[in-house]
Amino acid sequence: MRVTKVWTAVCALIGALALTAGCANSGSAPTGGSGGSGGASSSSSGPVKVGVIVPLSGPAGPNGQDVLDAIQVQADLVNAQGGVLGRQLQIVAKDDQSNPANGVSAATQLASEGVSVVMGGWNSPVTLAIQPVLVRAGILNITTIPQNATILGNADPDAVRLNAGNAVGAYVAGQYLTKNLGAKSVGYLLENDAYGKDLGALLSAQLQPAGVAVASEQTFDYSATDFRVPLSNIQGAAPQAVFSANAAESSGMPALAQQYARSGIGAPHVAALGTVSPKVIDLAGGAAVDGLYSADIYFPDVAPFNGYPQNQKFADAFRQKTGNAPDKYAALGAESVEVWAAAVAKAGSLDRQPVADAIHGQTFTDTVMGDVSFTDKGQMQTKVYAFTVEGGKVKVLDEVPVPAEVWNS
C-alpha cells in the first residue's frame, strides 16, 4: 500500500496549493468593475470598436445576418457624419450560434478585443448568458431583438432593451379588442409554447376586468400549418373577435391567416403584435387576407415612417447593401447604433456608466423609428400602430398609446 502514501503526499501538496491560492482576496478592489480595468480596455485613439453578437450560423443565421447588416449600414452612415467623438466606428461581429455557451465565448473575446459596447442578440437565453460577462468586463450591452422580461433590472442594472416585450403585445391587443372592436367575447388561437401561453395569460388578465369572456382557447404547435380543427372549434364557439399568437413567420402564420379568411368565421381576426410582416401578407395571398388586424412598431414605406428623414436614409442604404427593404428587426439594429452613438455624444465618453445614464430615462428625437424615449429601467418606448390589410397592403390605422409600466415588463 505504498501507493496510498504517495497519494497522501500528492493530496497534501494540492491542499497547500489550494491554500496559497485560497488566501482571502475579498479585501482588494474588484477587478474589471466600474472602472473598466478588466481585460484589454479600449484604447483612446484609432477606431471605436463596436461588438455585435448575433447568430450567424444555424437556423437563425439569416436573421442574425440581417441585423448585422443593418448595424453595419447604420455605422457607415454615422461614420459618414464624422463618427463618434471624432472617431470612426468599426464593427466586430461574433457568431453566438443561438447558443448561450457560444454567446459567453463571443462576449469574452469581444471584451479582450477592447470593444466599447456590445449590441445585437436574437435569442433571449444568449442575452441572459452574456449579461454577467459584460457587466464584469465593464462593457455596456444594448439588447437589440430579445424581449424576455428578465433582461431588464436583473444581472445587468444598466441593461438597455429595444424590442417590445409580450406585455406590450398583450396590452395593445387588449386595447384594440375592447375599445376599437368592442368585443364582449374573444376566441384564442395560441402557439403551444412559452410565447403563446404567456401572451394568452397576459391578455386574459386584461380582458377579465373589462368583462370580456374567453369563448374558446385553441392551441397548436409552432410548426403547424393546418388549422382546420382549431378554426372549426372557434367557429362553434362563435366569439365576437379572435386573437391569434403565431410567430412562425414563413409558414404557420401565413397559413393561419389564409385559412382563417377562408373559414367563414365572421368575427375580426386580431393577430399579435409583430406577427404580420409584409412577407406574411405576401405568402398568405395578399388581398386574400384583407381585413386582418395587427400592430407593429415599424413599417419602412408607410406613413408616418416614410416621412422620417433618418429612416429614408437608412432604408435607402440598406436596400443598396442587401437588395431588400428593411424589416422591423433591421430597423431595431440600426436604432441600437443610432441611440448608442447619440448617447456617447451626449455623455462625451465611451465608458459604460455615463453612456448608460445618457440612455436611461432619456428621449432621442428624429431616429430611424421617429422620436423614442427610454424608461428608467432601460426599455425603449416607441409608438405602436394598429394596422389592417387592405388590398394586400399594410394600412396603418391609429397609434395605440402604451403606458411606461407596461413597457418595463
Binding site: W7, A18, A24, N25, G58, N99, A101, R136, N148
Partner: protein
C-alpha cells in the same frame, strides 16, 4: 478491439511501475505546478484564462462519462442530465435560497447520486444499444421537464448566479474573474484525476473492467456484475455534477442548453478522440476541443463539421483513438529501422 486494448493495458502496467514511486509522485507535482502556471506562461490574457478554466470544467465533465465508457464499456448518453443537475441545483440554491458554494456542491452531489441511482437501477438489465437508448431517453425527458417547469426557470433558465466565494485564511476567496477561478478549477480537476486514478486500481475498477471483458466469467468467479454496474454508474455522476457546479459559477447563468446535444457530443468526443482508458485522455480531449473552439474557431457550422470530421477520420483510421494512431506510427518507424 477489446482484446487489443487489454494487451496494451497489461503490457503498459509493468513499464509504468519501473519508475520509482517517489519519483512518479514528484513528476505529478511538477506537472500540476506547470499546469497552474500554464496560463501565465501563455501570456495571461483574459482569453487564455477563460480557455484554461473551460478546459478544466469540460475535462471534469468528460471524466464522468469516461468512467462509464472506458471501464464499464457502456456509452452513456444521459450524462448531460448529471451535468445539468449539478449546475441547476447550484444555481437554484444559490440564487433563490442564498446557499454558499460548498453546501450547494454537497446538495448537487446528493441530487445527482439519487438521479444516478434511479437511472442505474432502471438500466440494470440493459446492455449496449439499449442502455444508450434508455440513458438518452432520460436526457430528453430531463430537457423537456426543465424547459416546461417554471420552478426550474423554464426555457429562460436561472439568472444571476453569484460569484464563487470560498472560505480561506483571513476571510474569503472570491473568484471574480476567470483568472481567480483558475486555481479552484485546477484543484477540482486534479482531485478528479486522482479519484479516477484511484478508481482504476480499486477493486471496483478492476471488477468493472473484468465484467466488461467477460461478464459470464466474472459472474462465475463470484462477481456481482449488476451491483458493479450500478456502483460505477453512481460514482460517475457526481464527477460530472462537480463540473456543473463550477460551470454555474463560471457562467453565472444556467439554461436548458446544458441538456443539449452540444455538451453530450463534447464529452463523448473528449473521451473517444484521444483513446479510451487513458488516465489523462479526457483532459487531452477536452483541451484539444476547447482550444480549437476558443482560440482557432472557424465559425459555428465549420466547427461542427471539423469536430465531426476529425472524430470520424480518427475512428475510421484507428478505433482506439489518437493514441492508437501514435502506436501504429511508432511501430512503423521501429519496423523500418530494423
Amino acid at each position: 478491439m477489446t482484446a487489443d486494448l487489454a494487451t496494451r493495458e497489461t503490457t503498459g502496467a509493468p513499464a509504468a511501475r519501473r519508475v520509482p514511486t517517489p519519483l512518479r509522485a514528484l513528476l505529478w507535482v511538477v506537472l500540476v505546478a506547470l499546469a497552474y502556471l500554464l496560463p501565465t506562461l501563455l501570456g495571461g490574457s483574459d482569453r487564455i484564462y477563460t480557455t484554461v478554466v473551460l478546459v478544466a470544467i469540460f475535462a471534469i465533465m468528460s471524466y464522468g462519462v469516461d468512467v462509464v465508457l472506458s471501464y464499464l464499456g457502456e456509452v452513456s448518453l444521459g450524462h448531460t442530465l448529471f451535468w445539468a443537475a449539478g449546475a441547476y441545483t447550484t444555481a437554484i440554491l444559490a440564487v433563490r435560497s442564498g446557499w454558499s458554494p460548498i453546501p450547494a456542491l454537497l446538495a448537487s452531489v446528493v441530487v445527482t447520486v439519487v438521479l444516478a441511482l434511479l437511472l442505474g437501477l432502471a438500466t440494470l438489465r440493459t446492455r449496449e444499444f439499449v442502455f444508450s437508448l434508455v440513458t438518452y431517453a432520460a436526457a430528453i425527458i430531463g430537457l423537456t421537464v426543465v424547459q416546461n417547469t417554471t420552478a426550474l426557470g423554464g426555457s429562460d433558465g436561472v439568472v444571476g448566479v453569484p460569484l464563487l466565494e470560498l472560505p480561506a485564511f483571513g476571510g474569503t476567496y472570491v473568484a471574480r474573474t476567470n483568472a481567480e477561478l483558475w486555481p479552484i478549477a485546477l484543484v477540482c480537476l486534479v482531485l478528479v484525476v486522482l479519484l479516477v486514478s484511484r478508481f482504476r486500481r480499486s477493486r471496483l475498477g478492476t471488477t468493472a473492467l473484468m465484467a466488461q471483458m467477460n461478464g459470464e466469467l466474472s459472474t462465475a468467479m463470484g462477481v456481482d456484475v449488476r451491483r458493479t454496474r450500478v456502483l460505477v454508474f453512481v460514482l460517475s455522476a457526481p464527477i460530472t455534477a462537480l463540473a456543473g457546479w463550477l460551470y454555474a459559477y463560471q457562467r453565472s447563468y444556467v439554461s436548458p442548453d446544458l441538456l443539449s446535444p452540444t455538451f453530450l457530443l463534447f464529452m463523448l468526443t473528449a473521451v473517444i478522440l484521444p483513446g479510451r482508458r487513458l488516465l489523462l485522455g479526457p483532459l487531452v480531449g477536452a483541451a484539444l476541443l476547447t482550444s480549437q473552439q476558443q482560440l482557432a474557431s472557424l465559425g459555428g457550422d465549420a466547427d461542427k463539421i471539423v469536430l465531426g470530421g476529425v472524430l470520424a477520420v480518427v475512428l475510421l483510421a484507428s478505433p482506439t483513438g489518437l493514441v492508437g494512431i501514435w502506436h501504429a506510427l511508432v511501430r512503423r518507424v521501429r519496423g523500418s529501422r530494423r
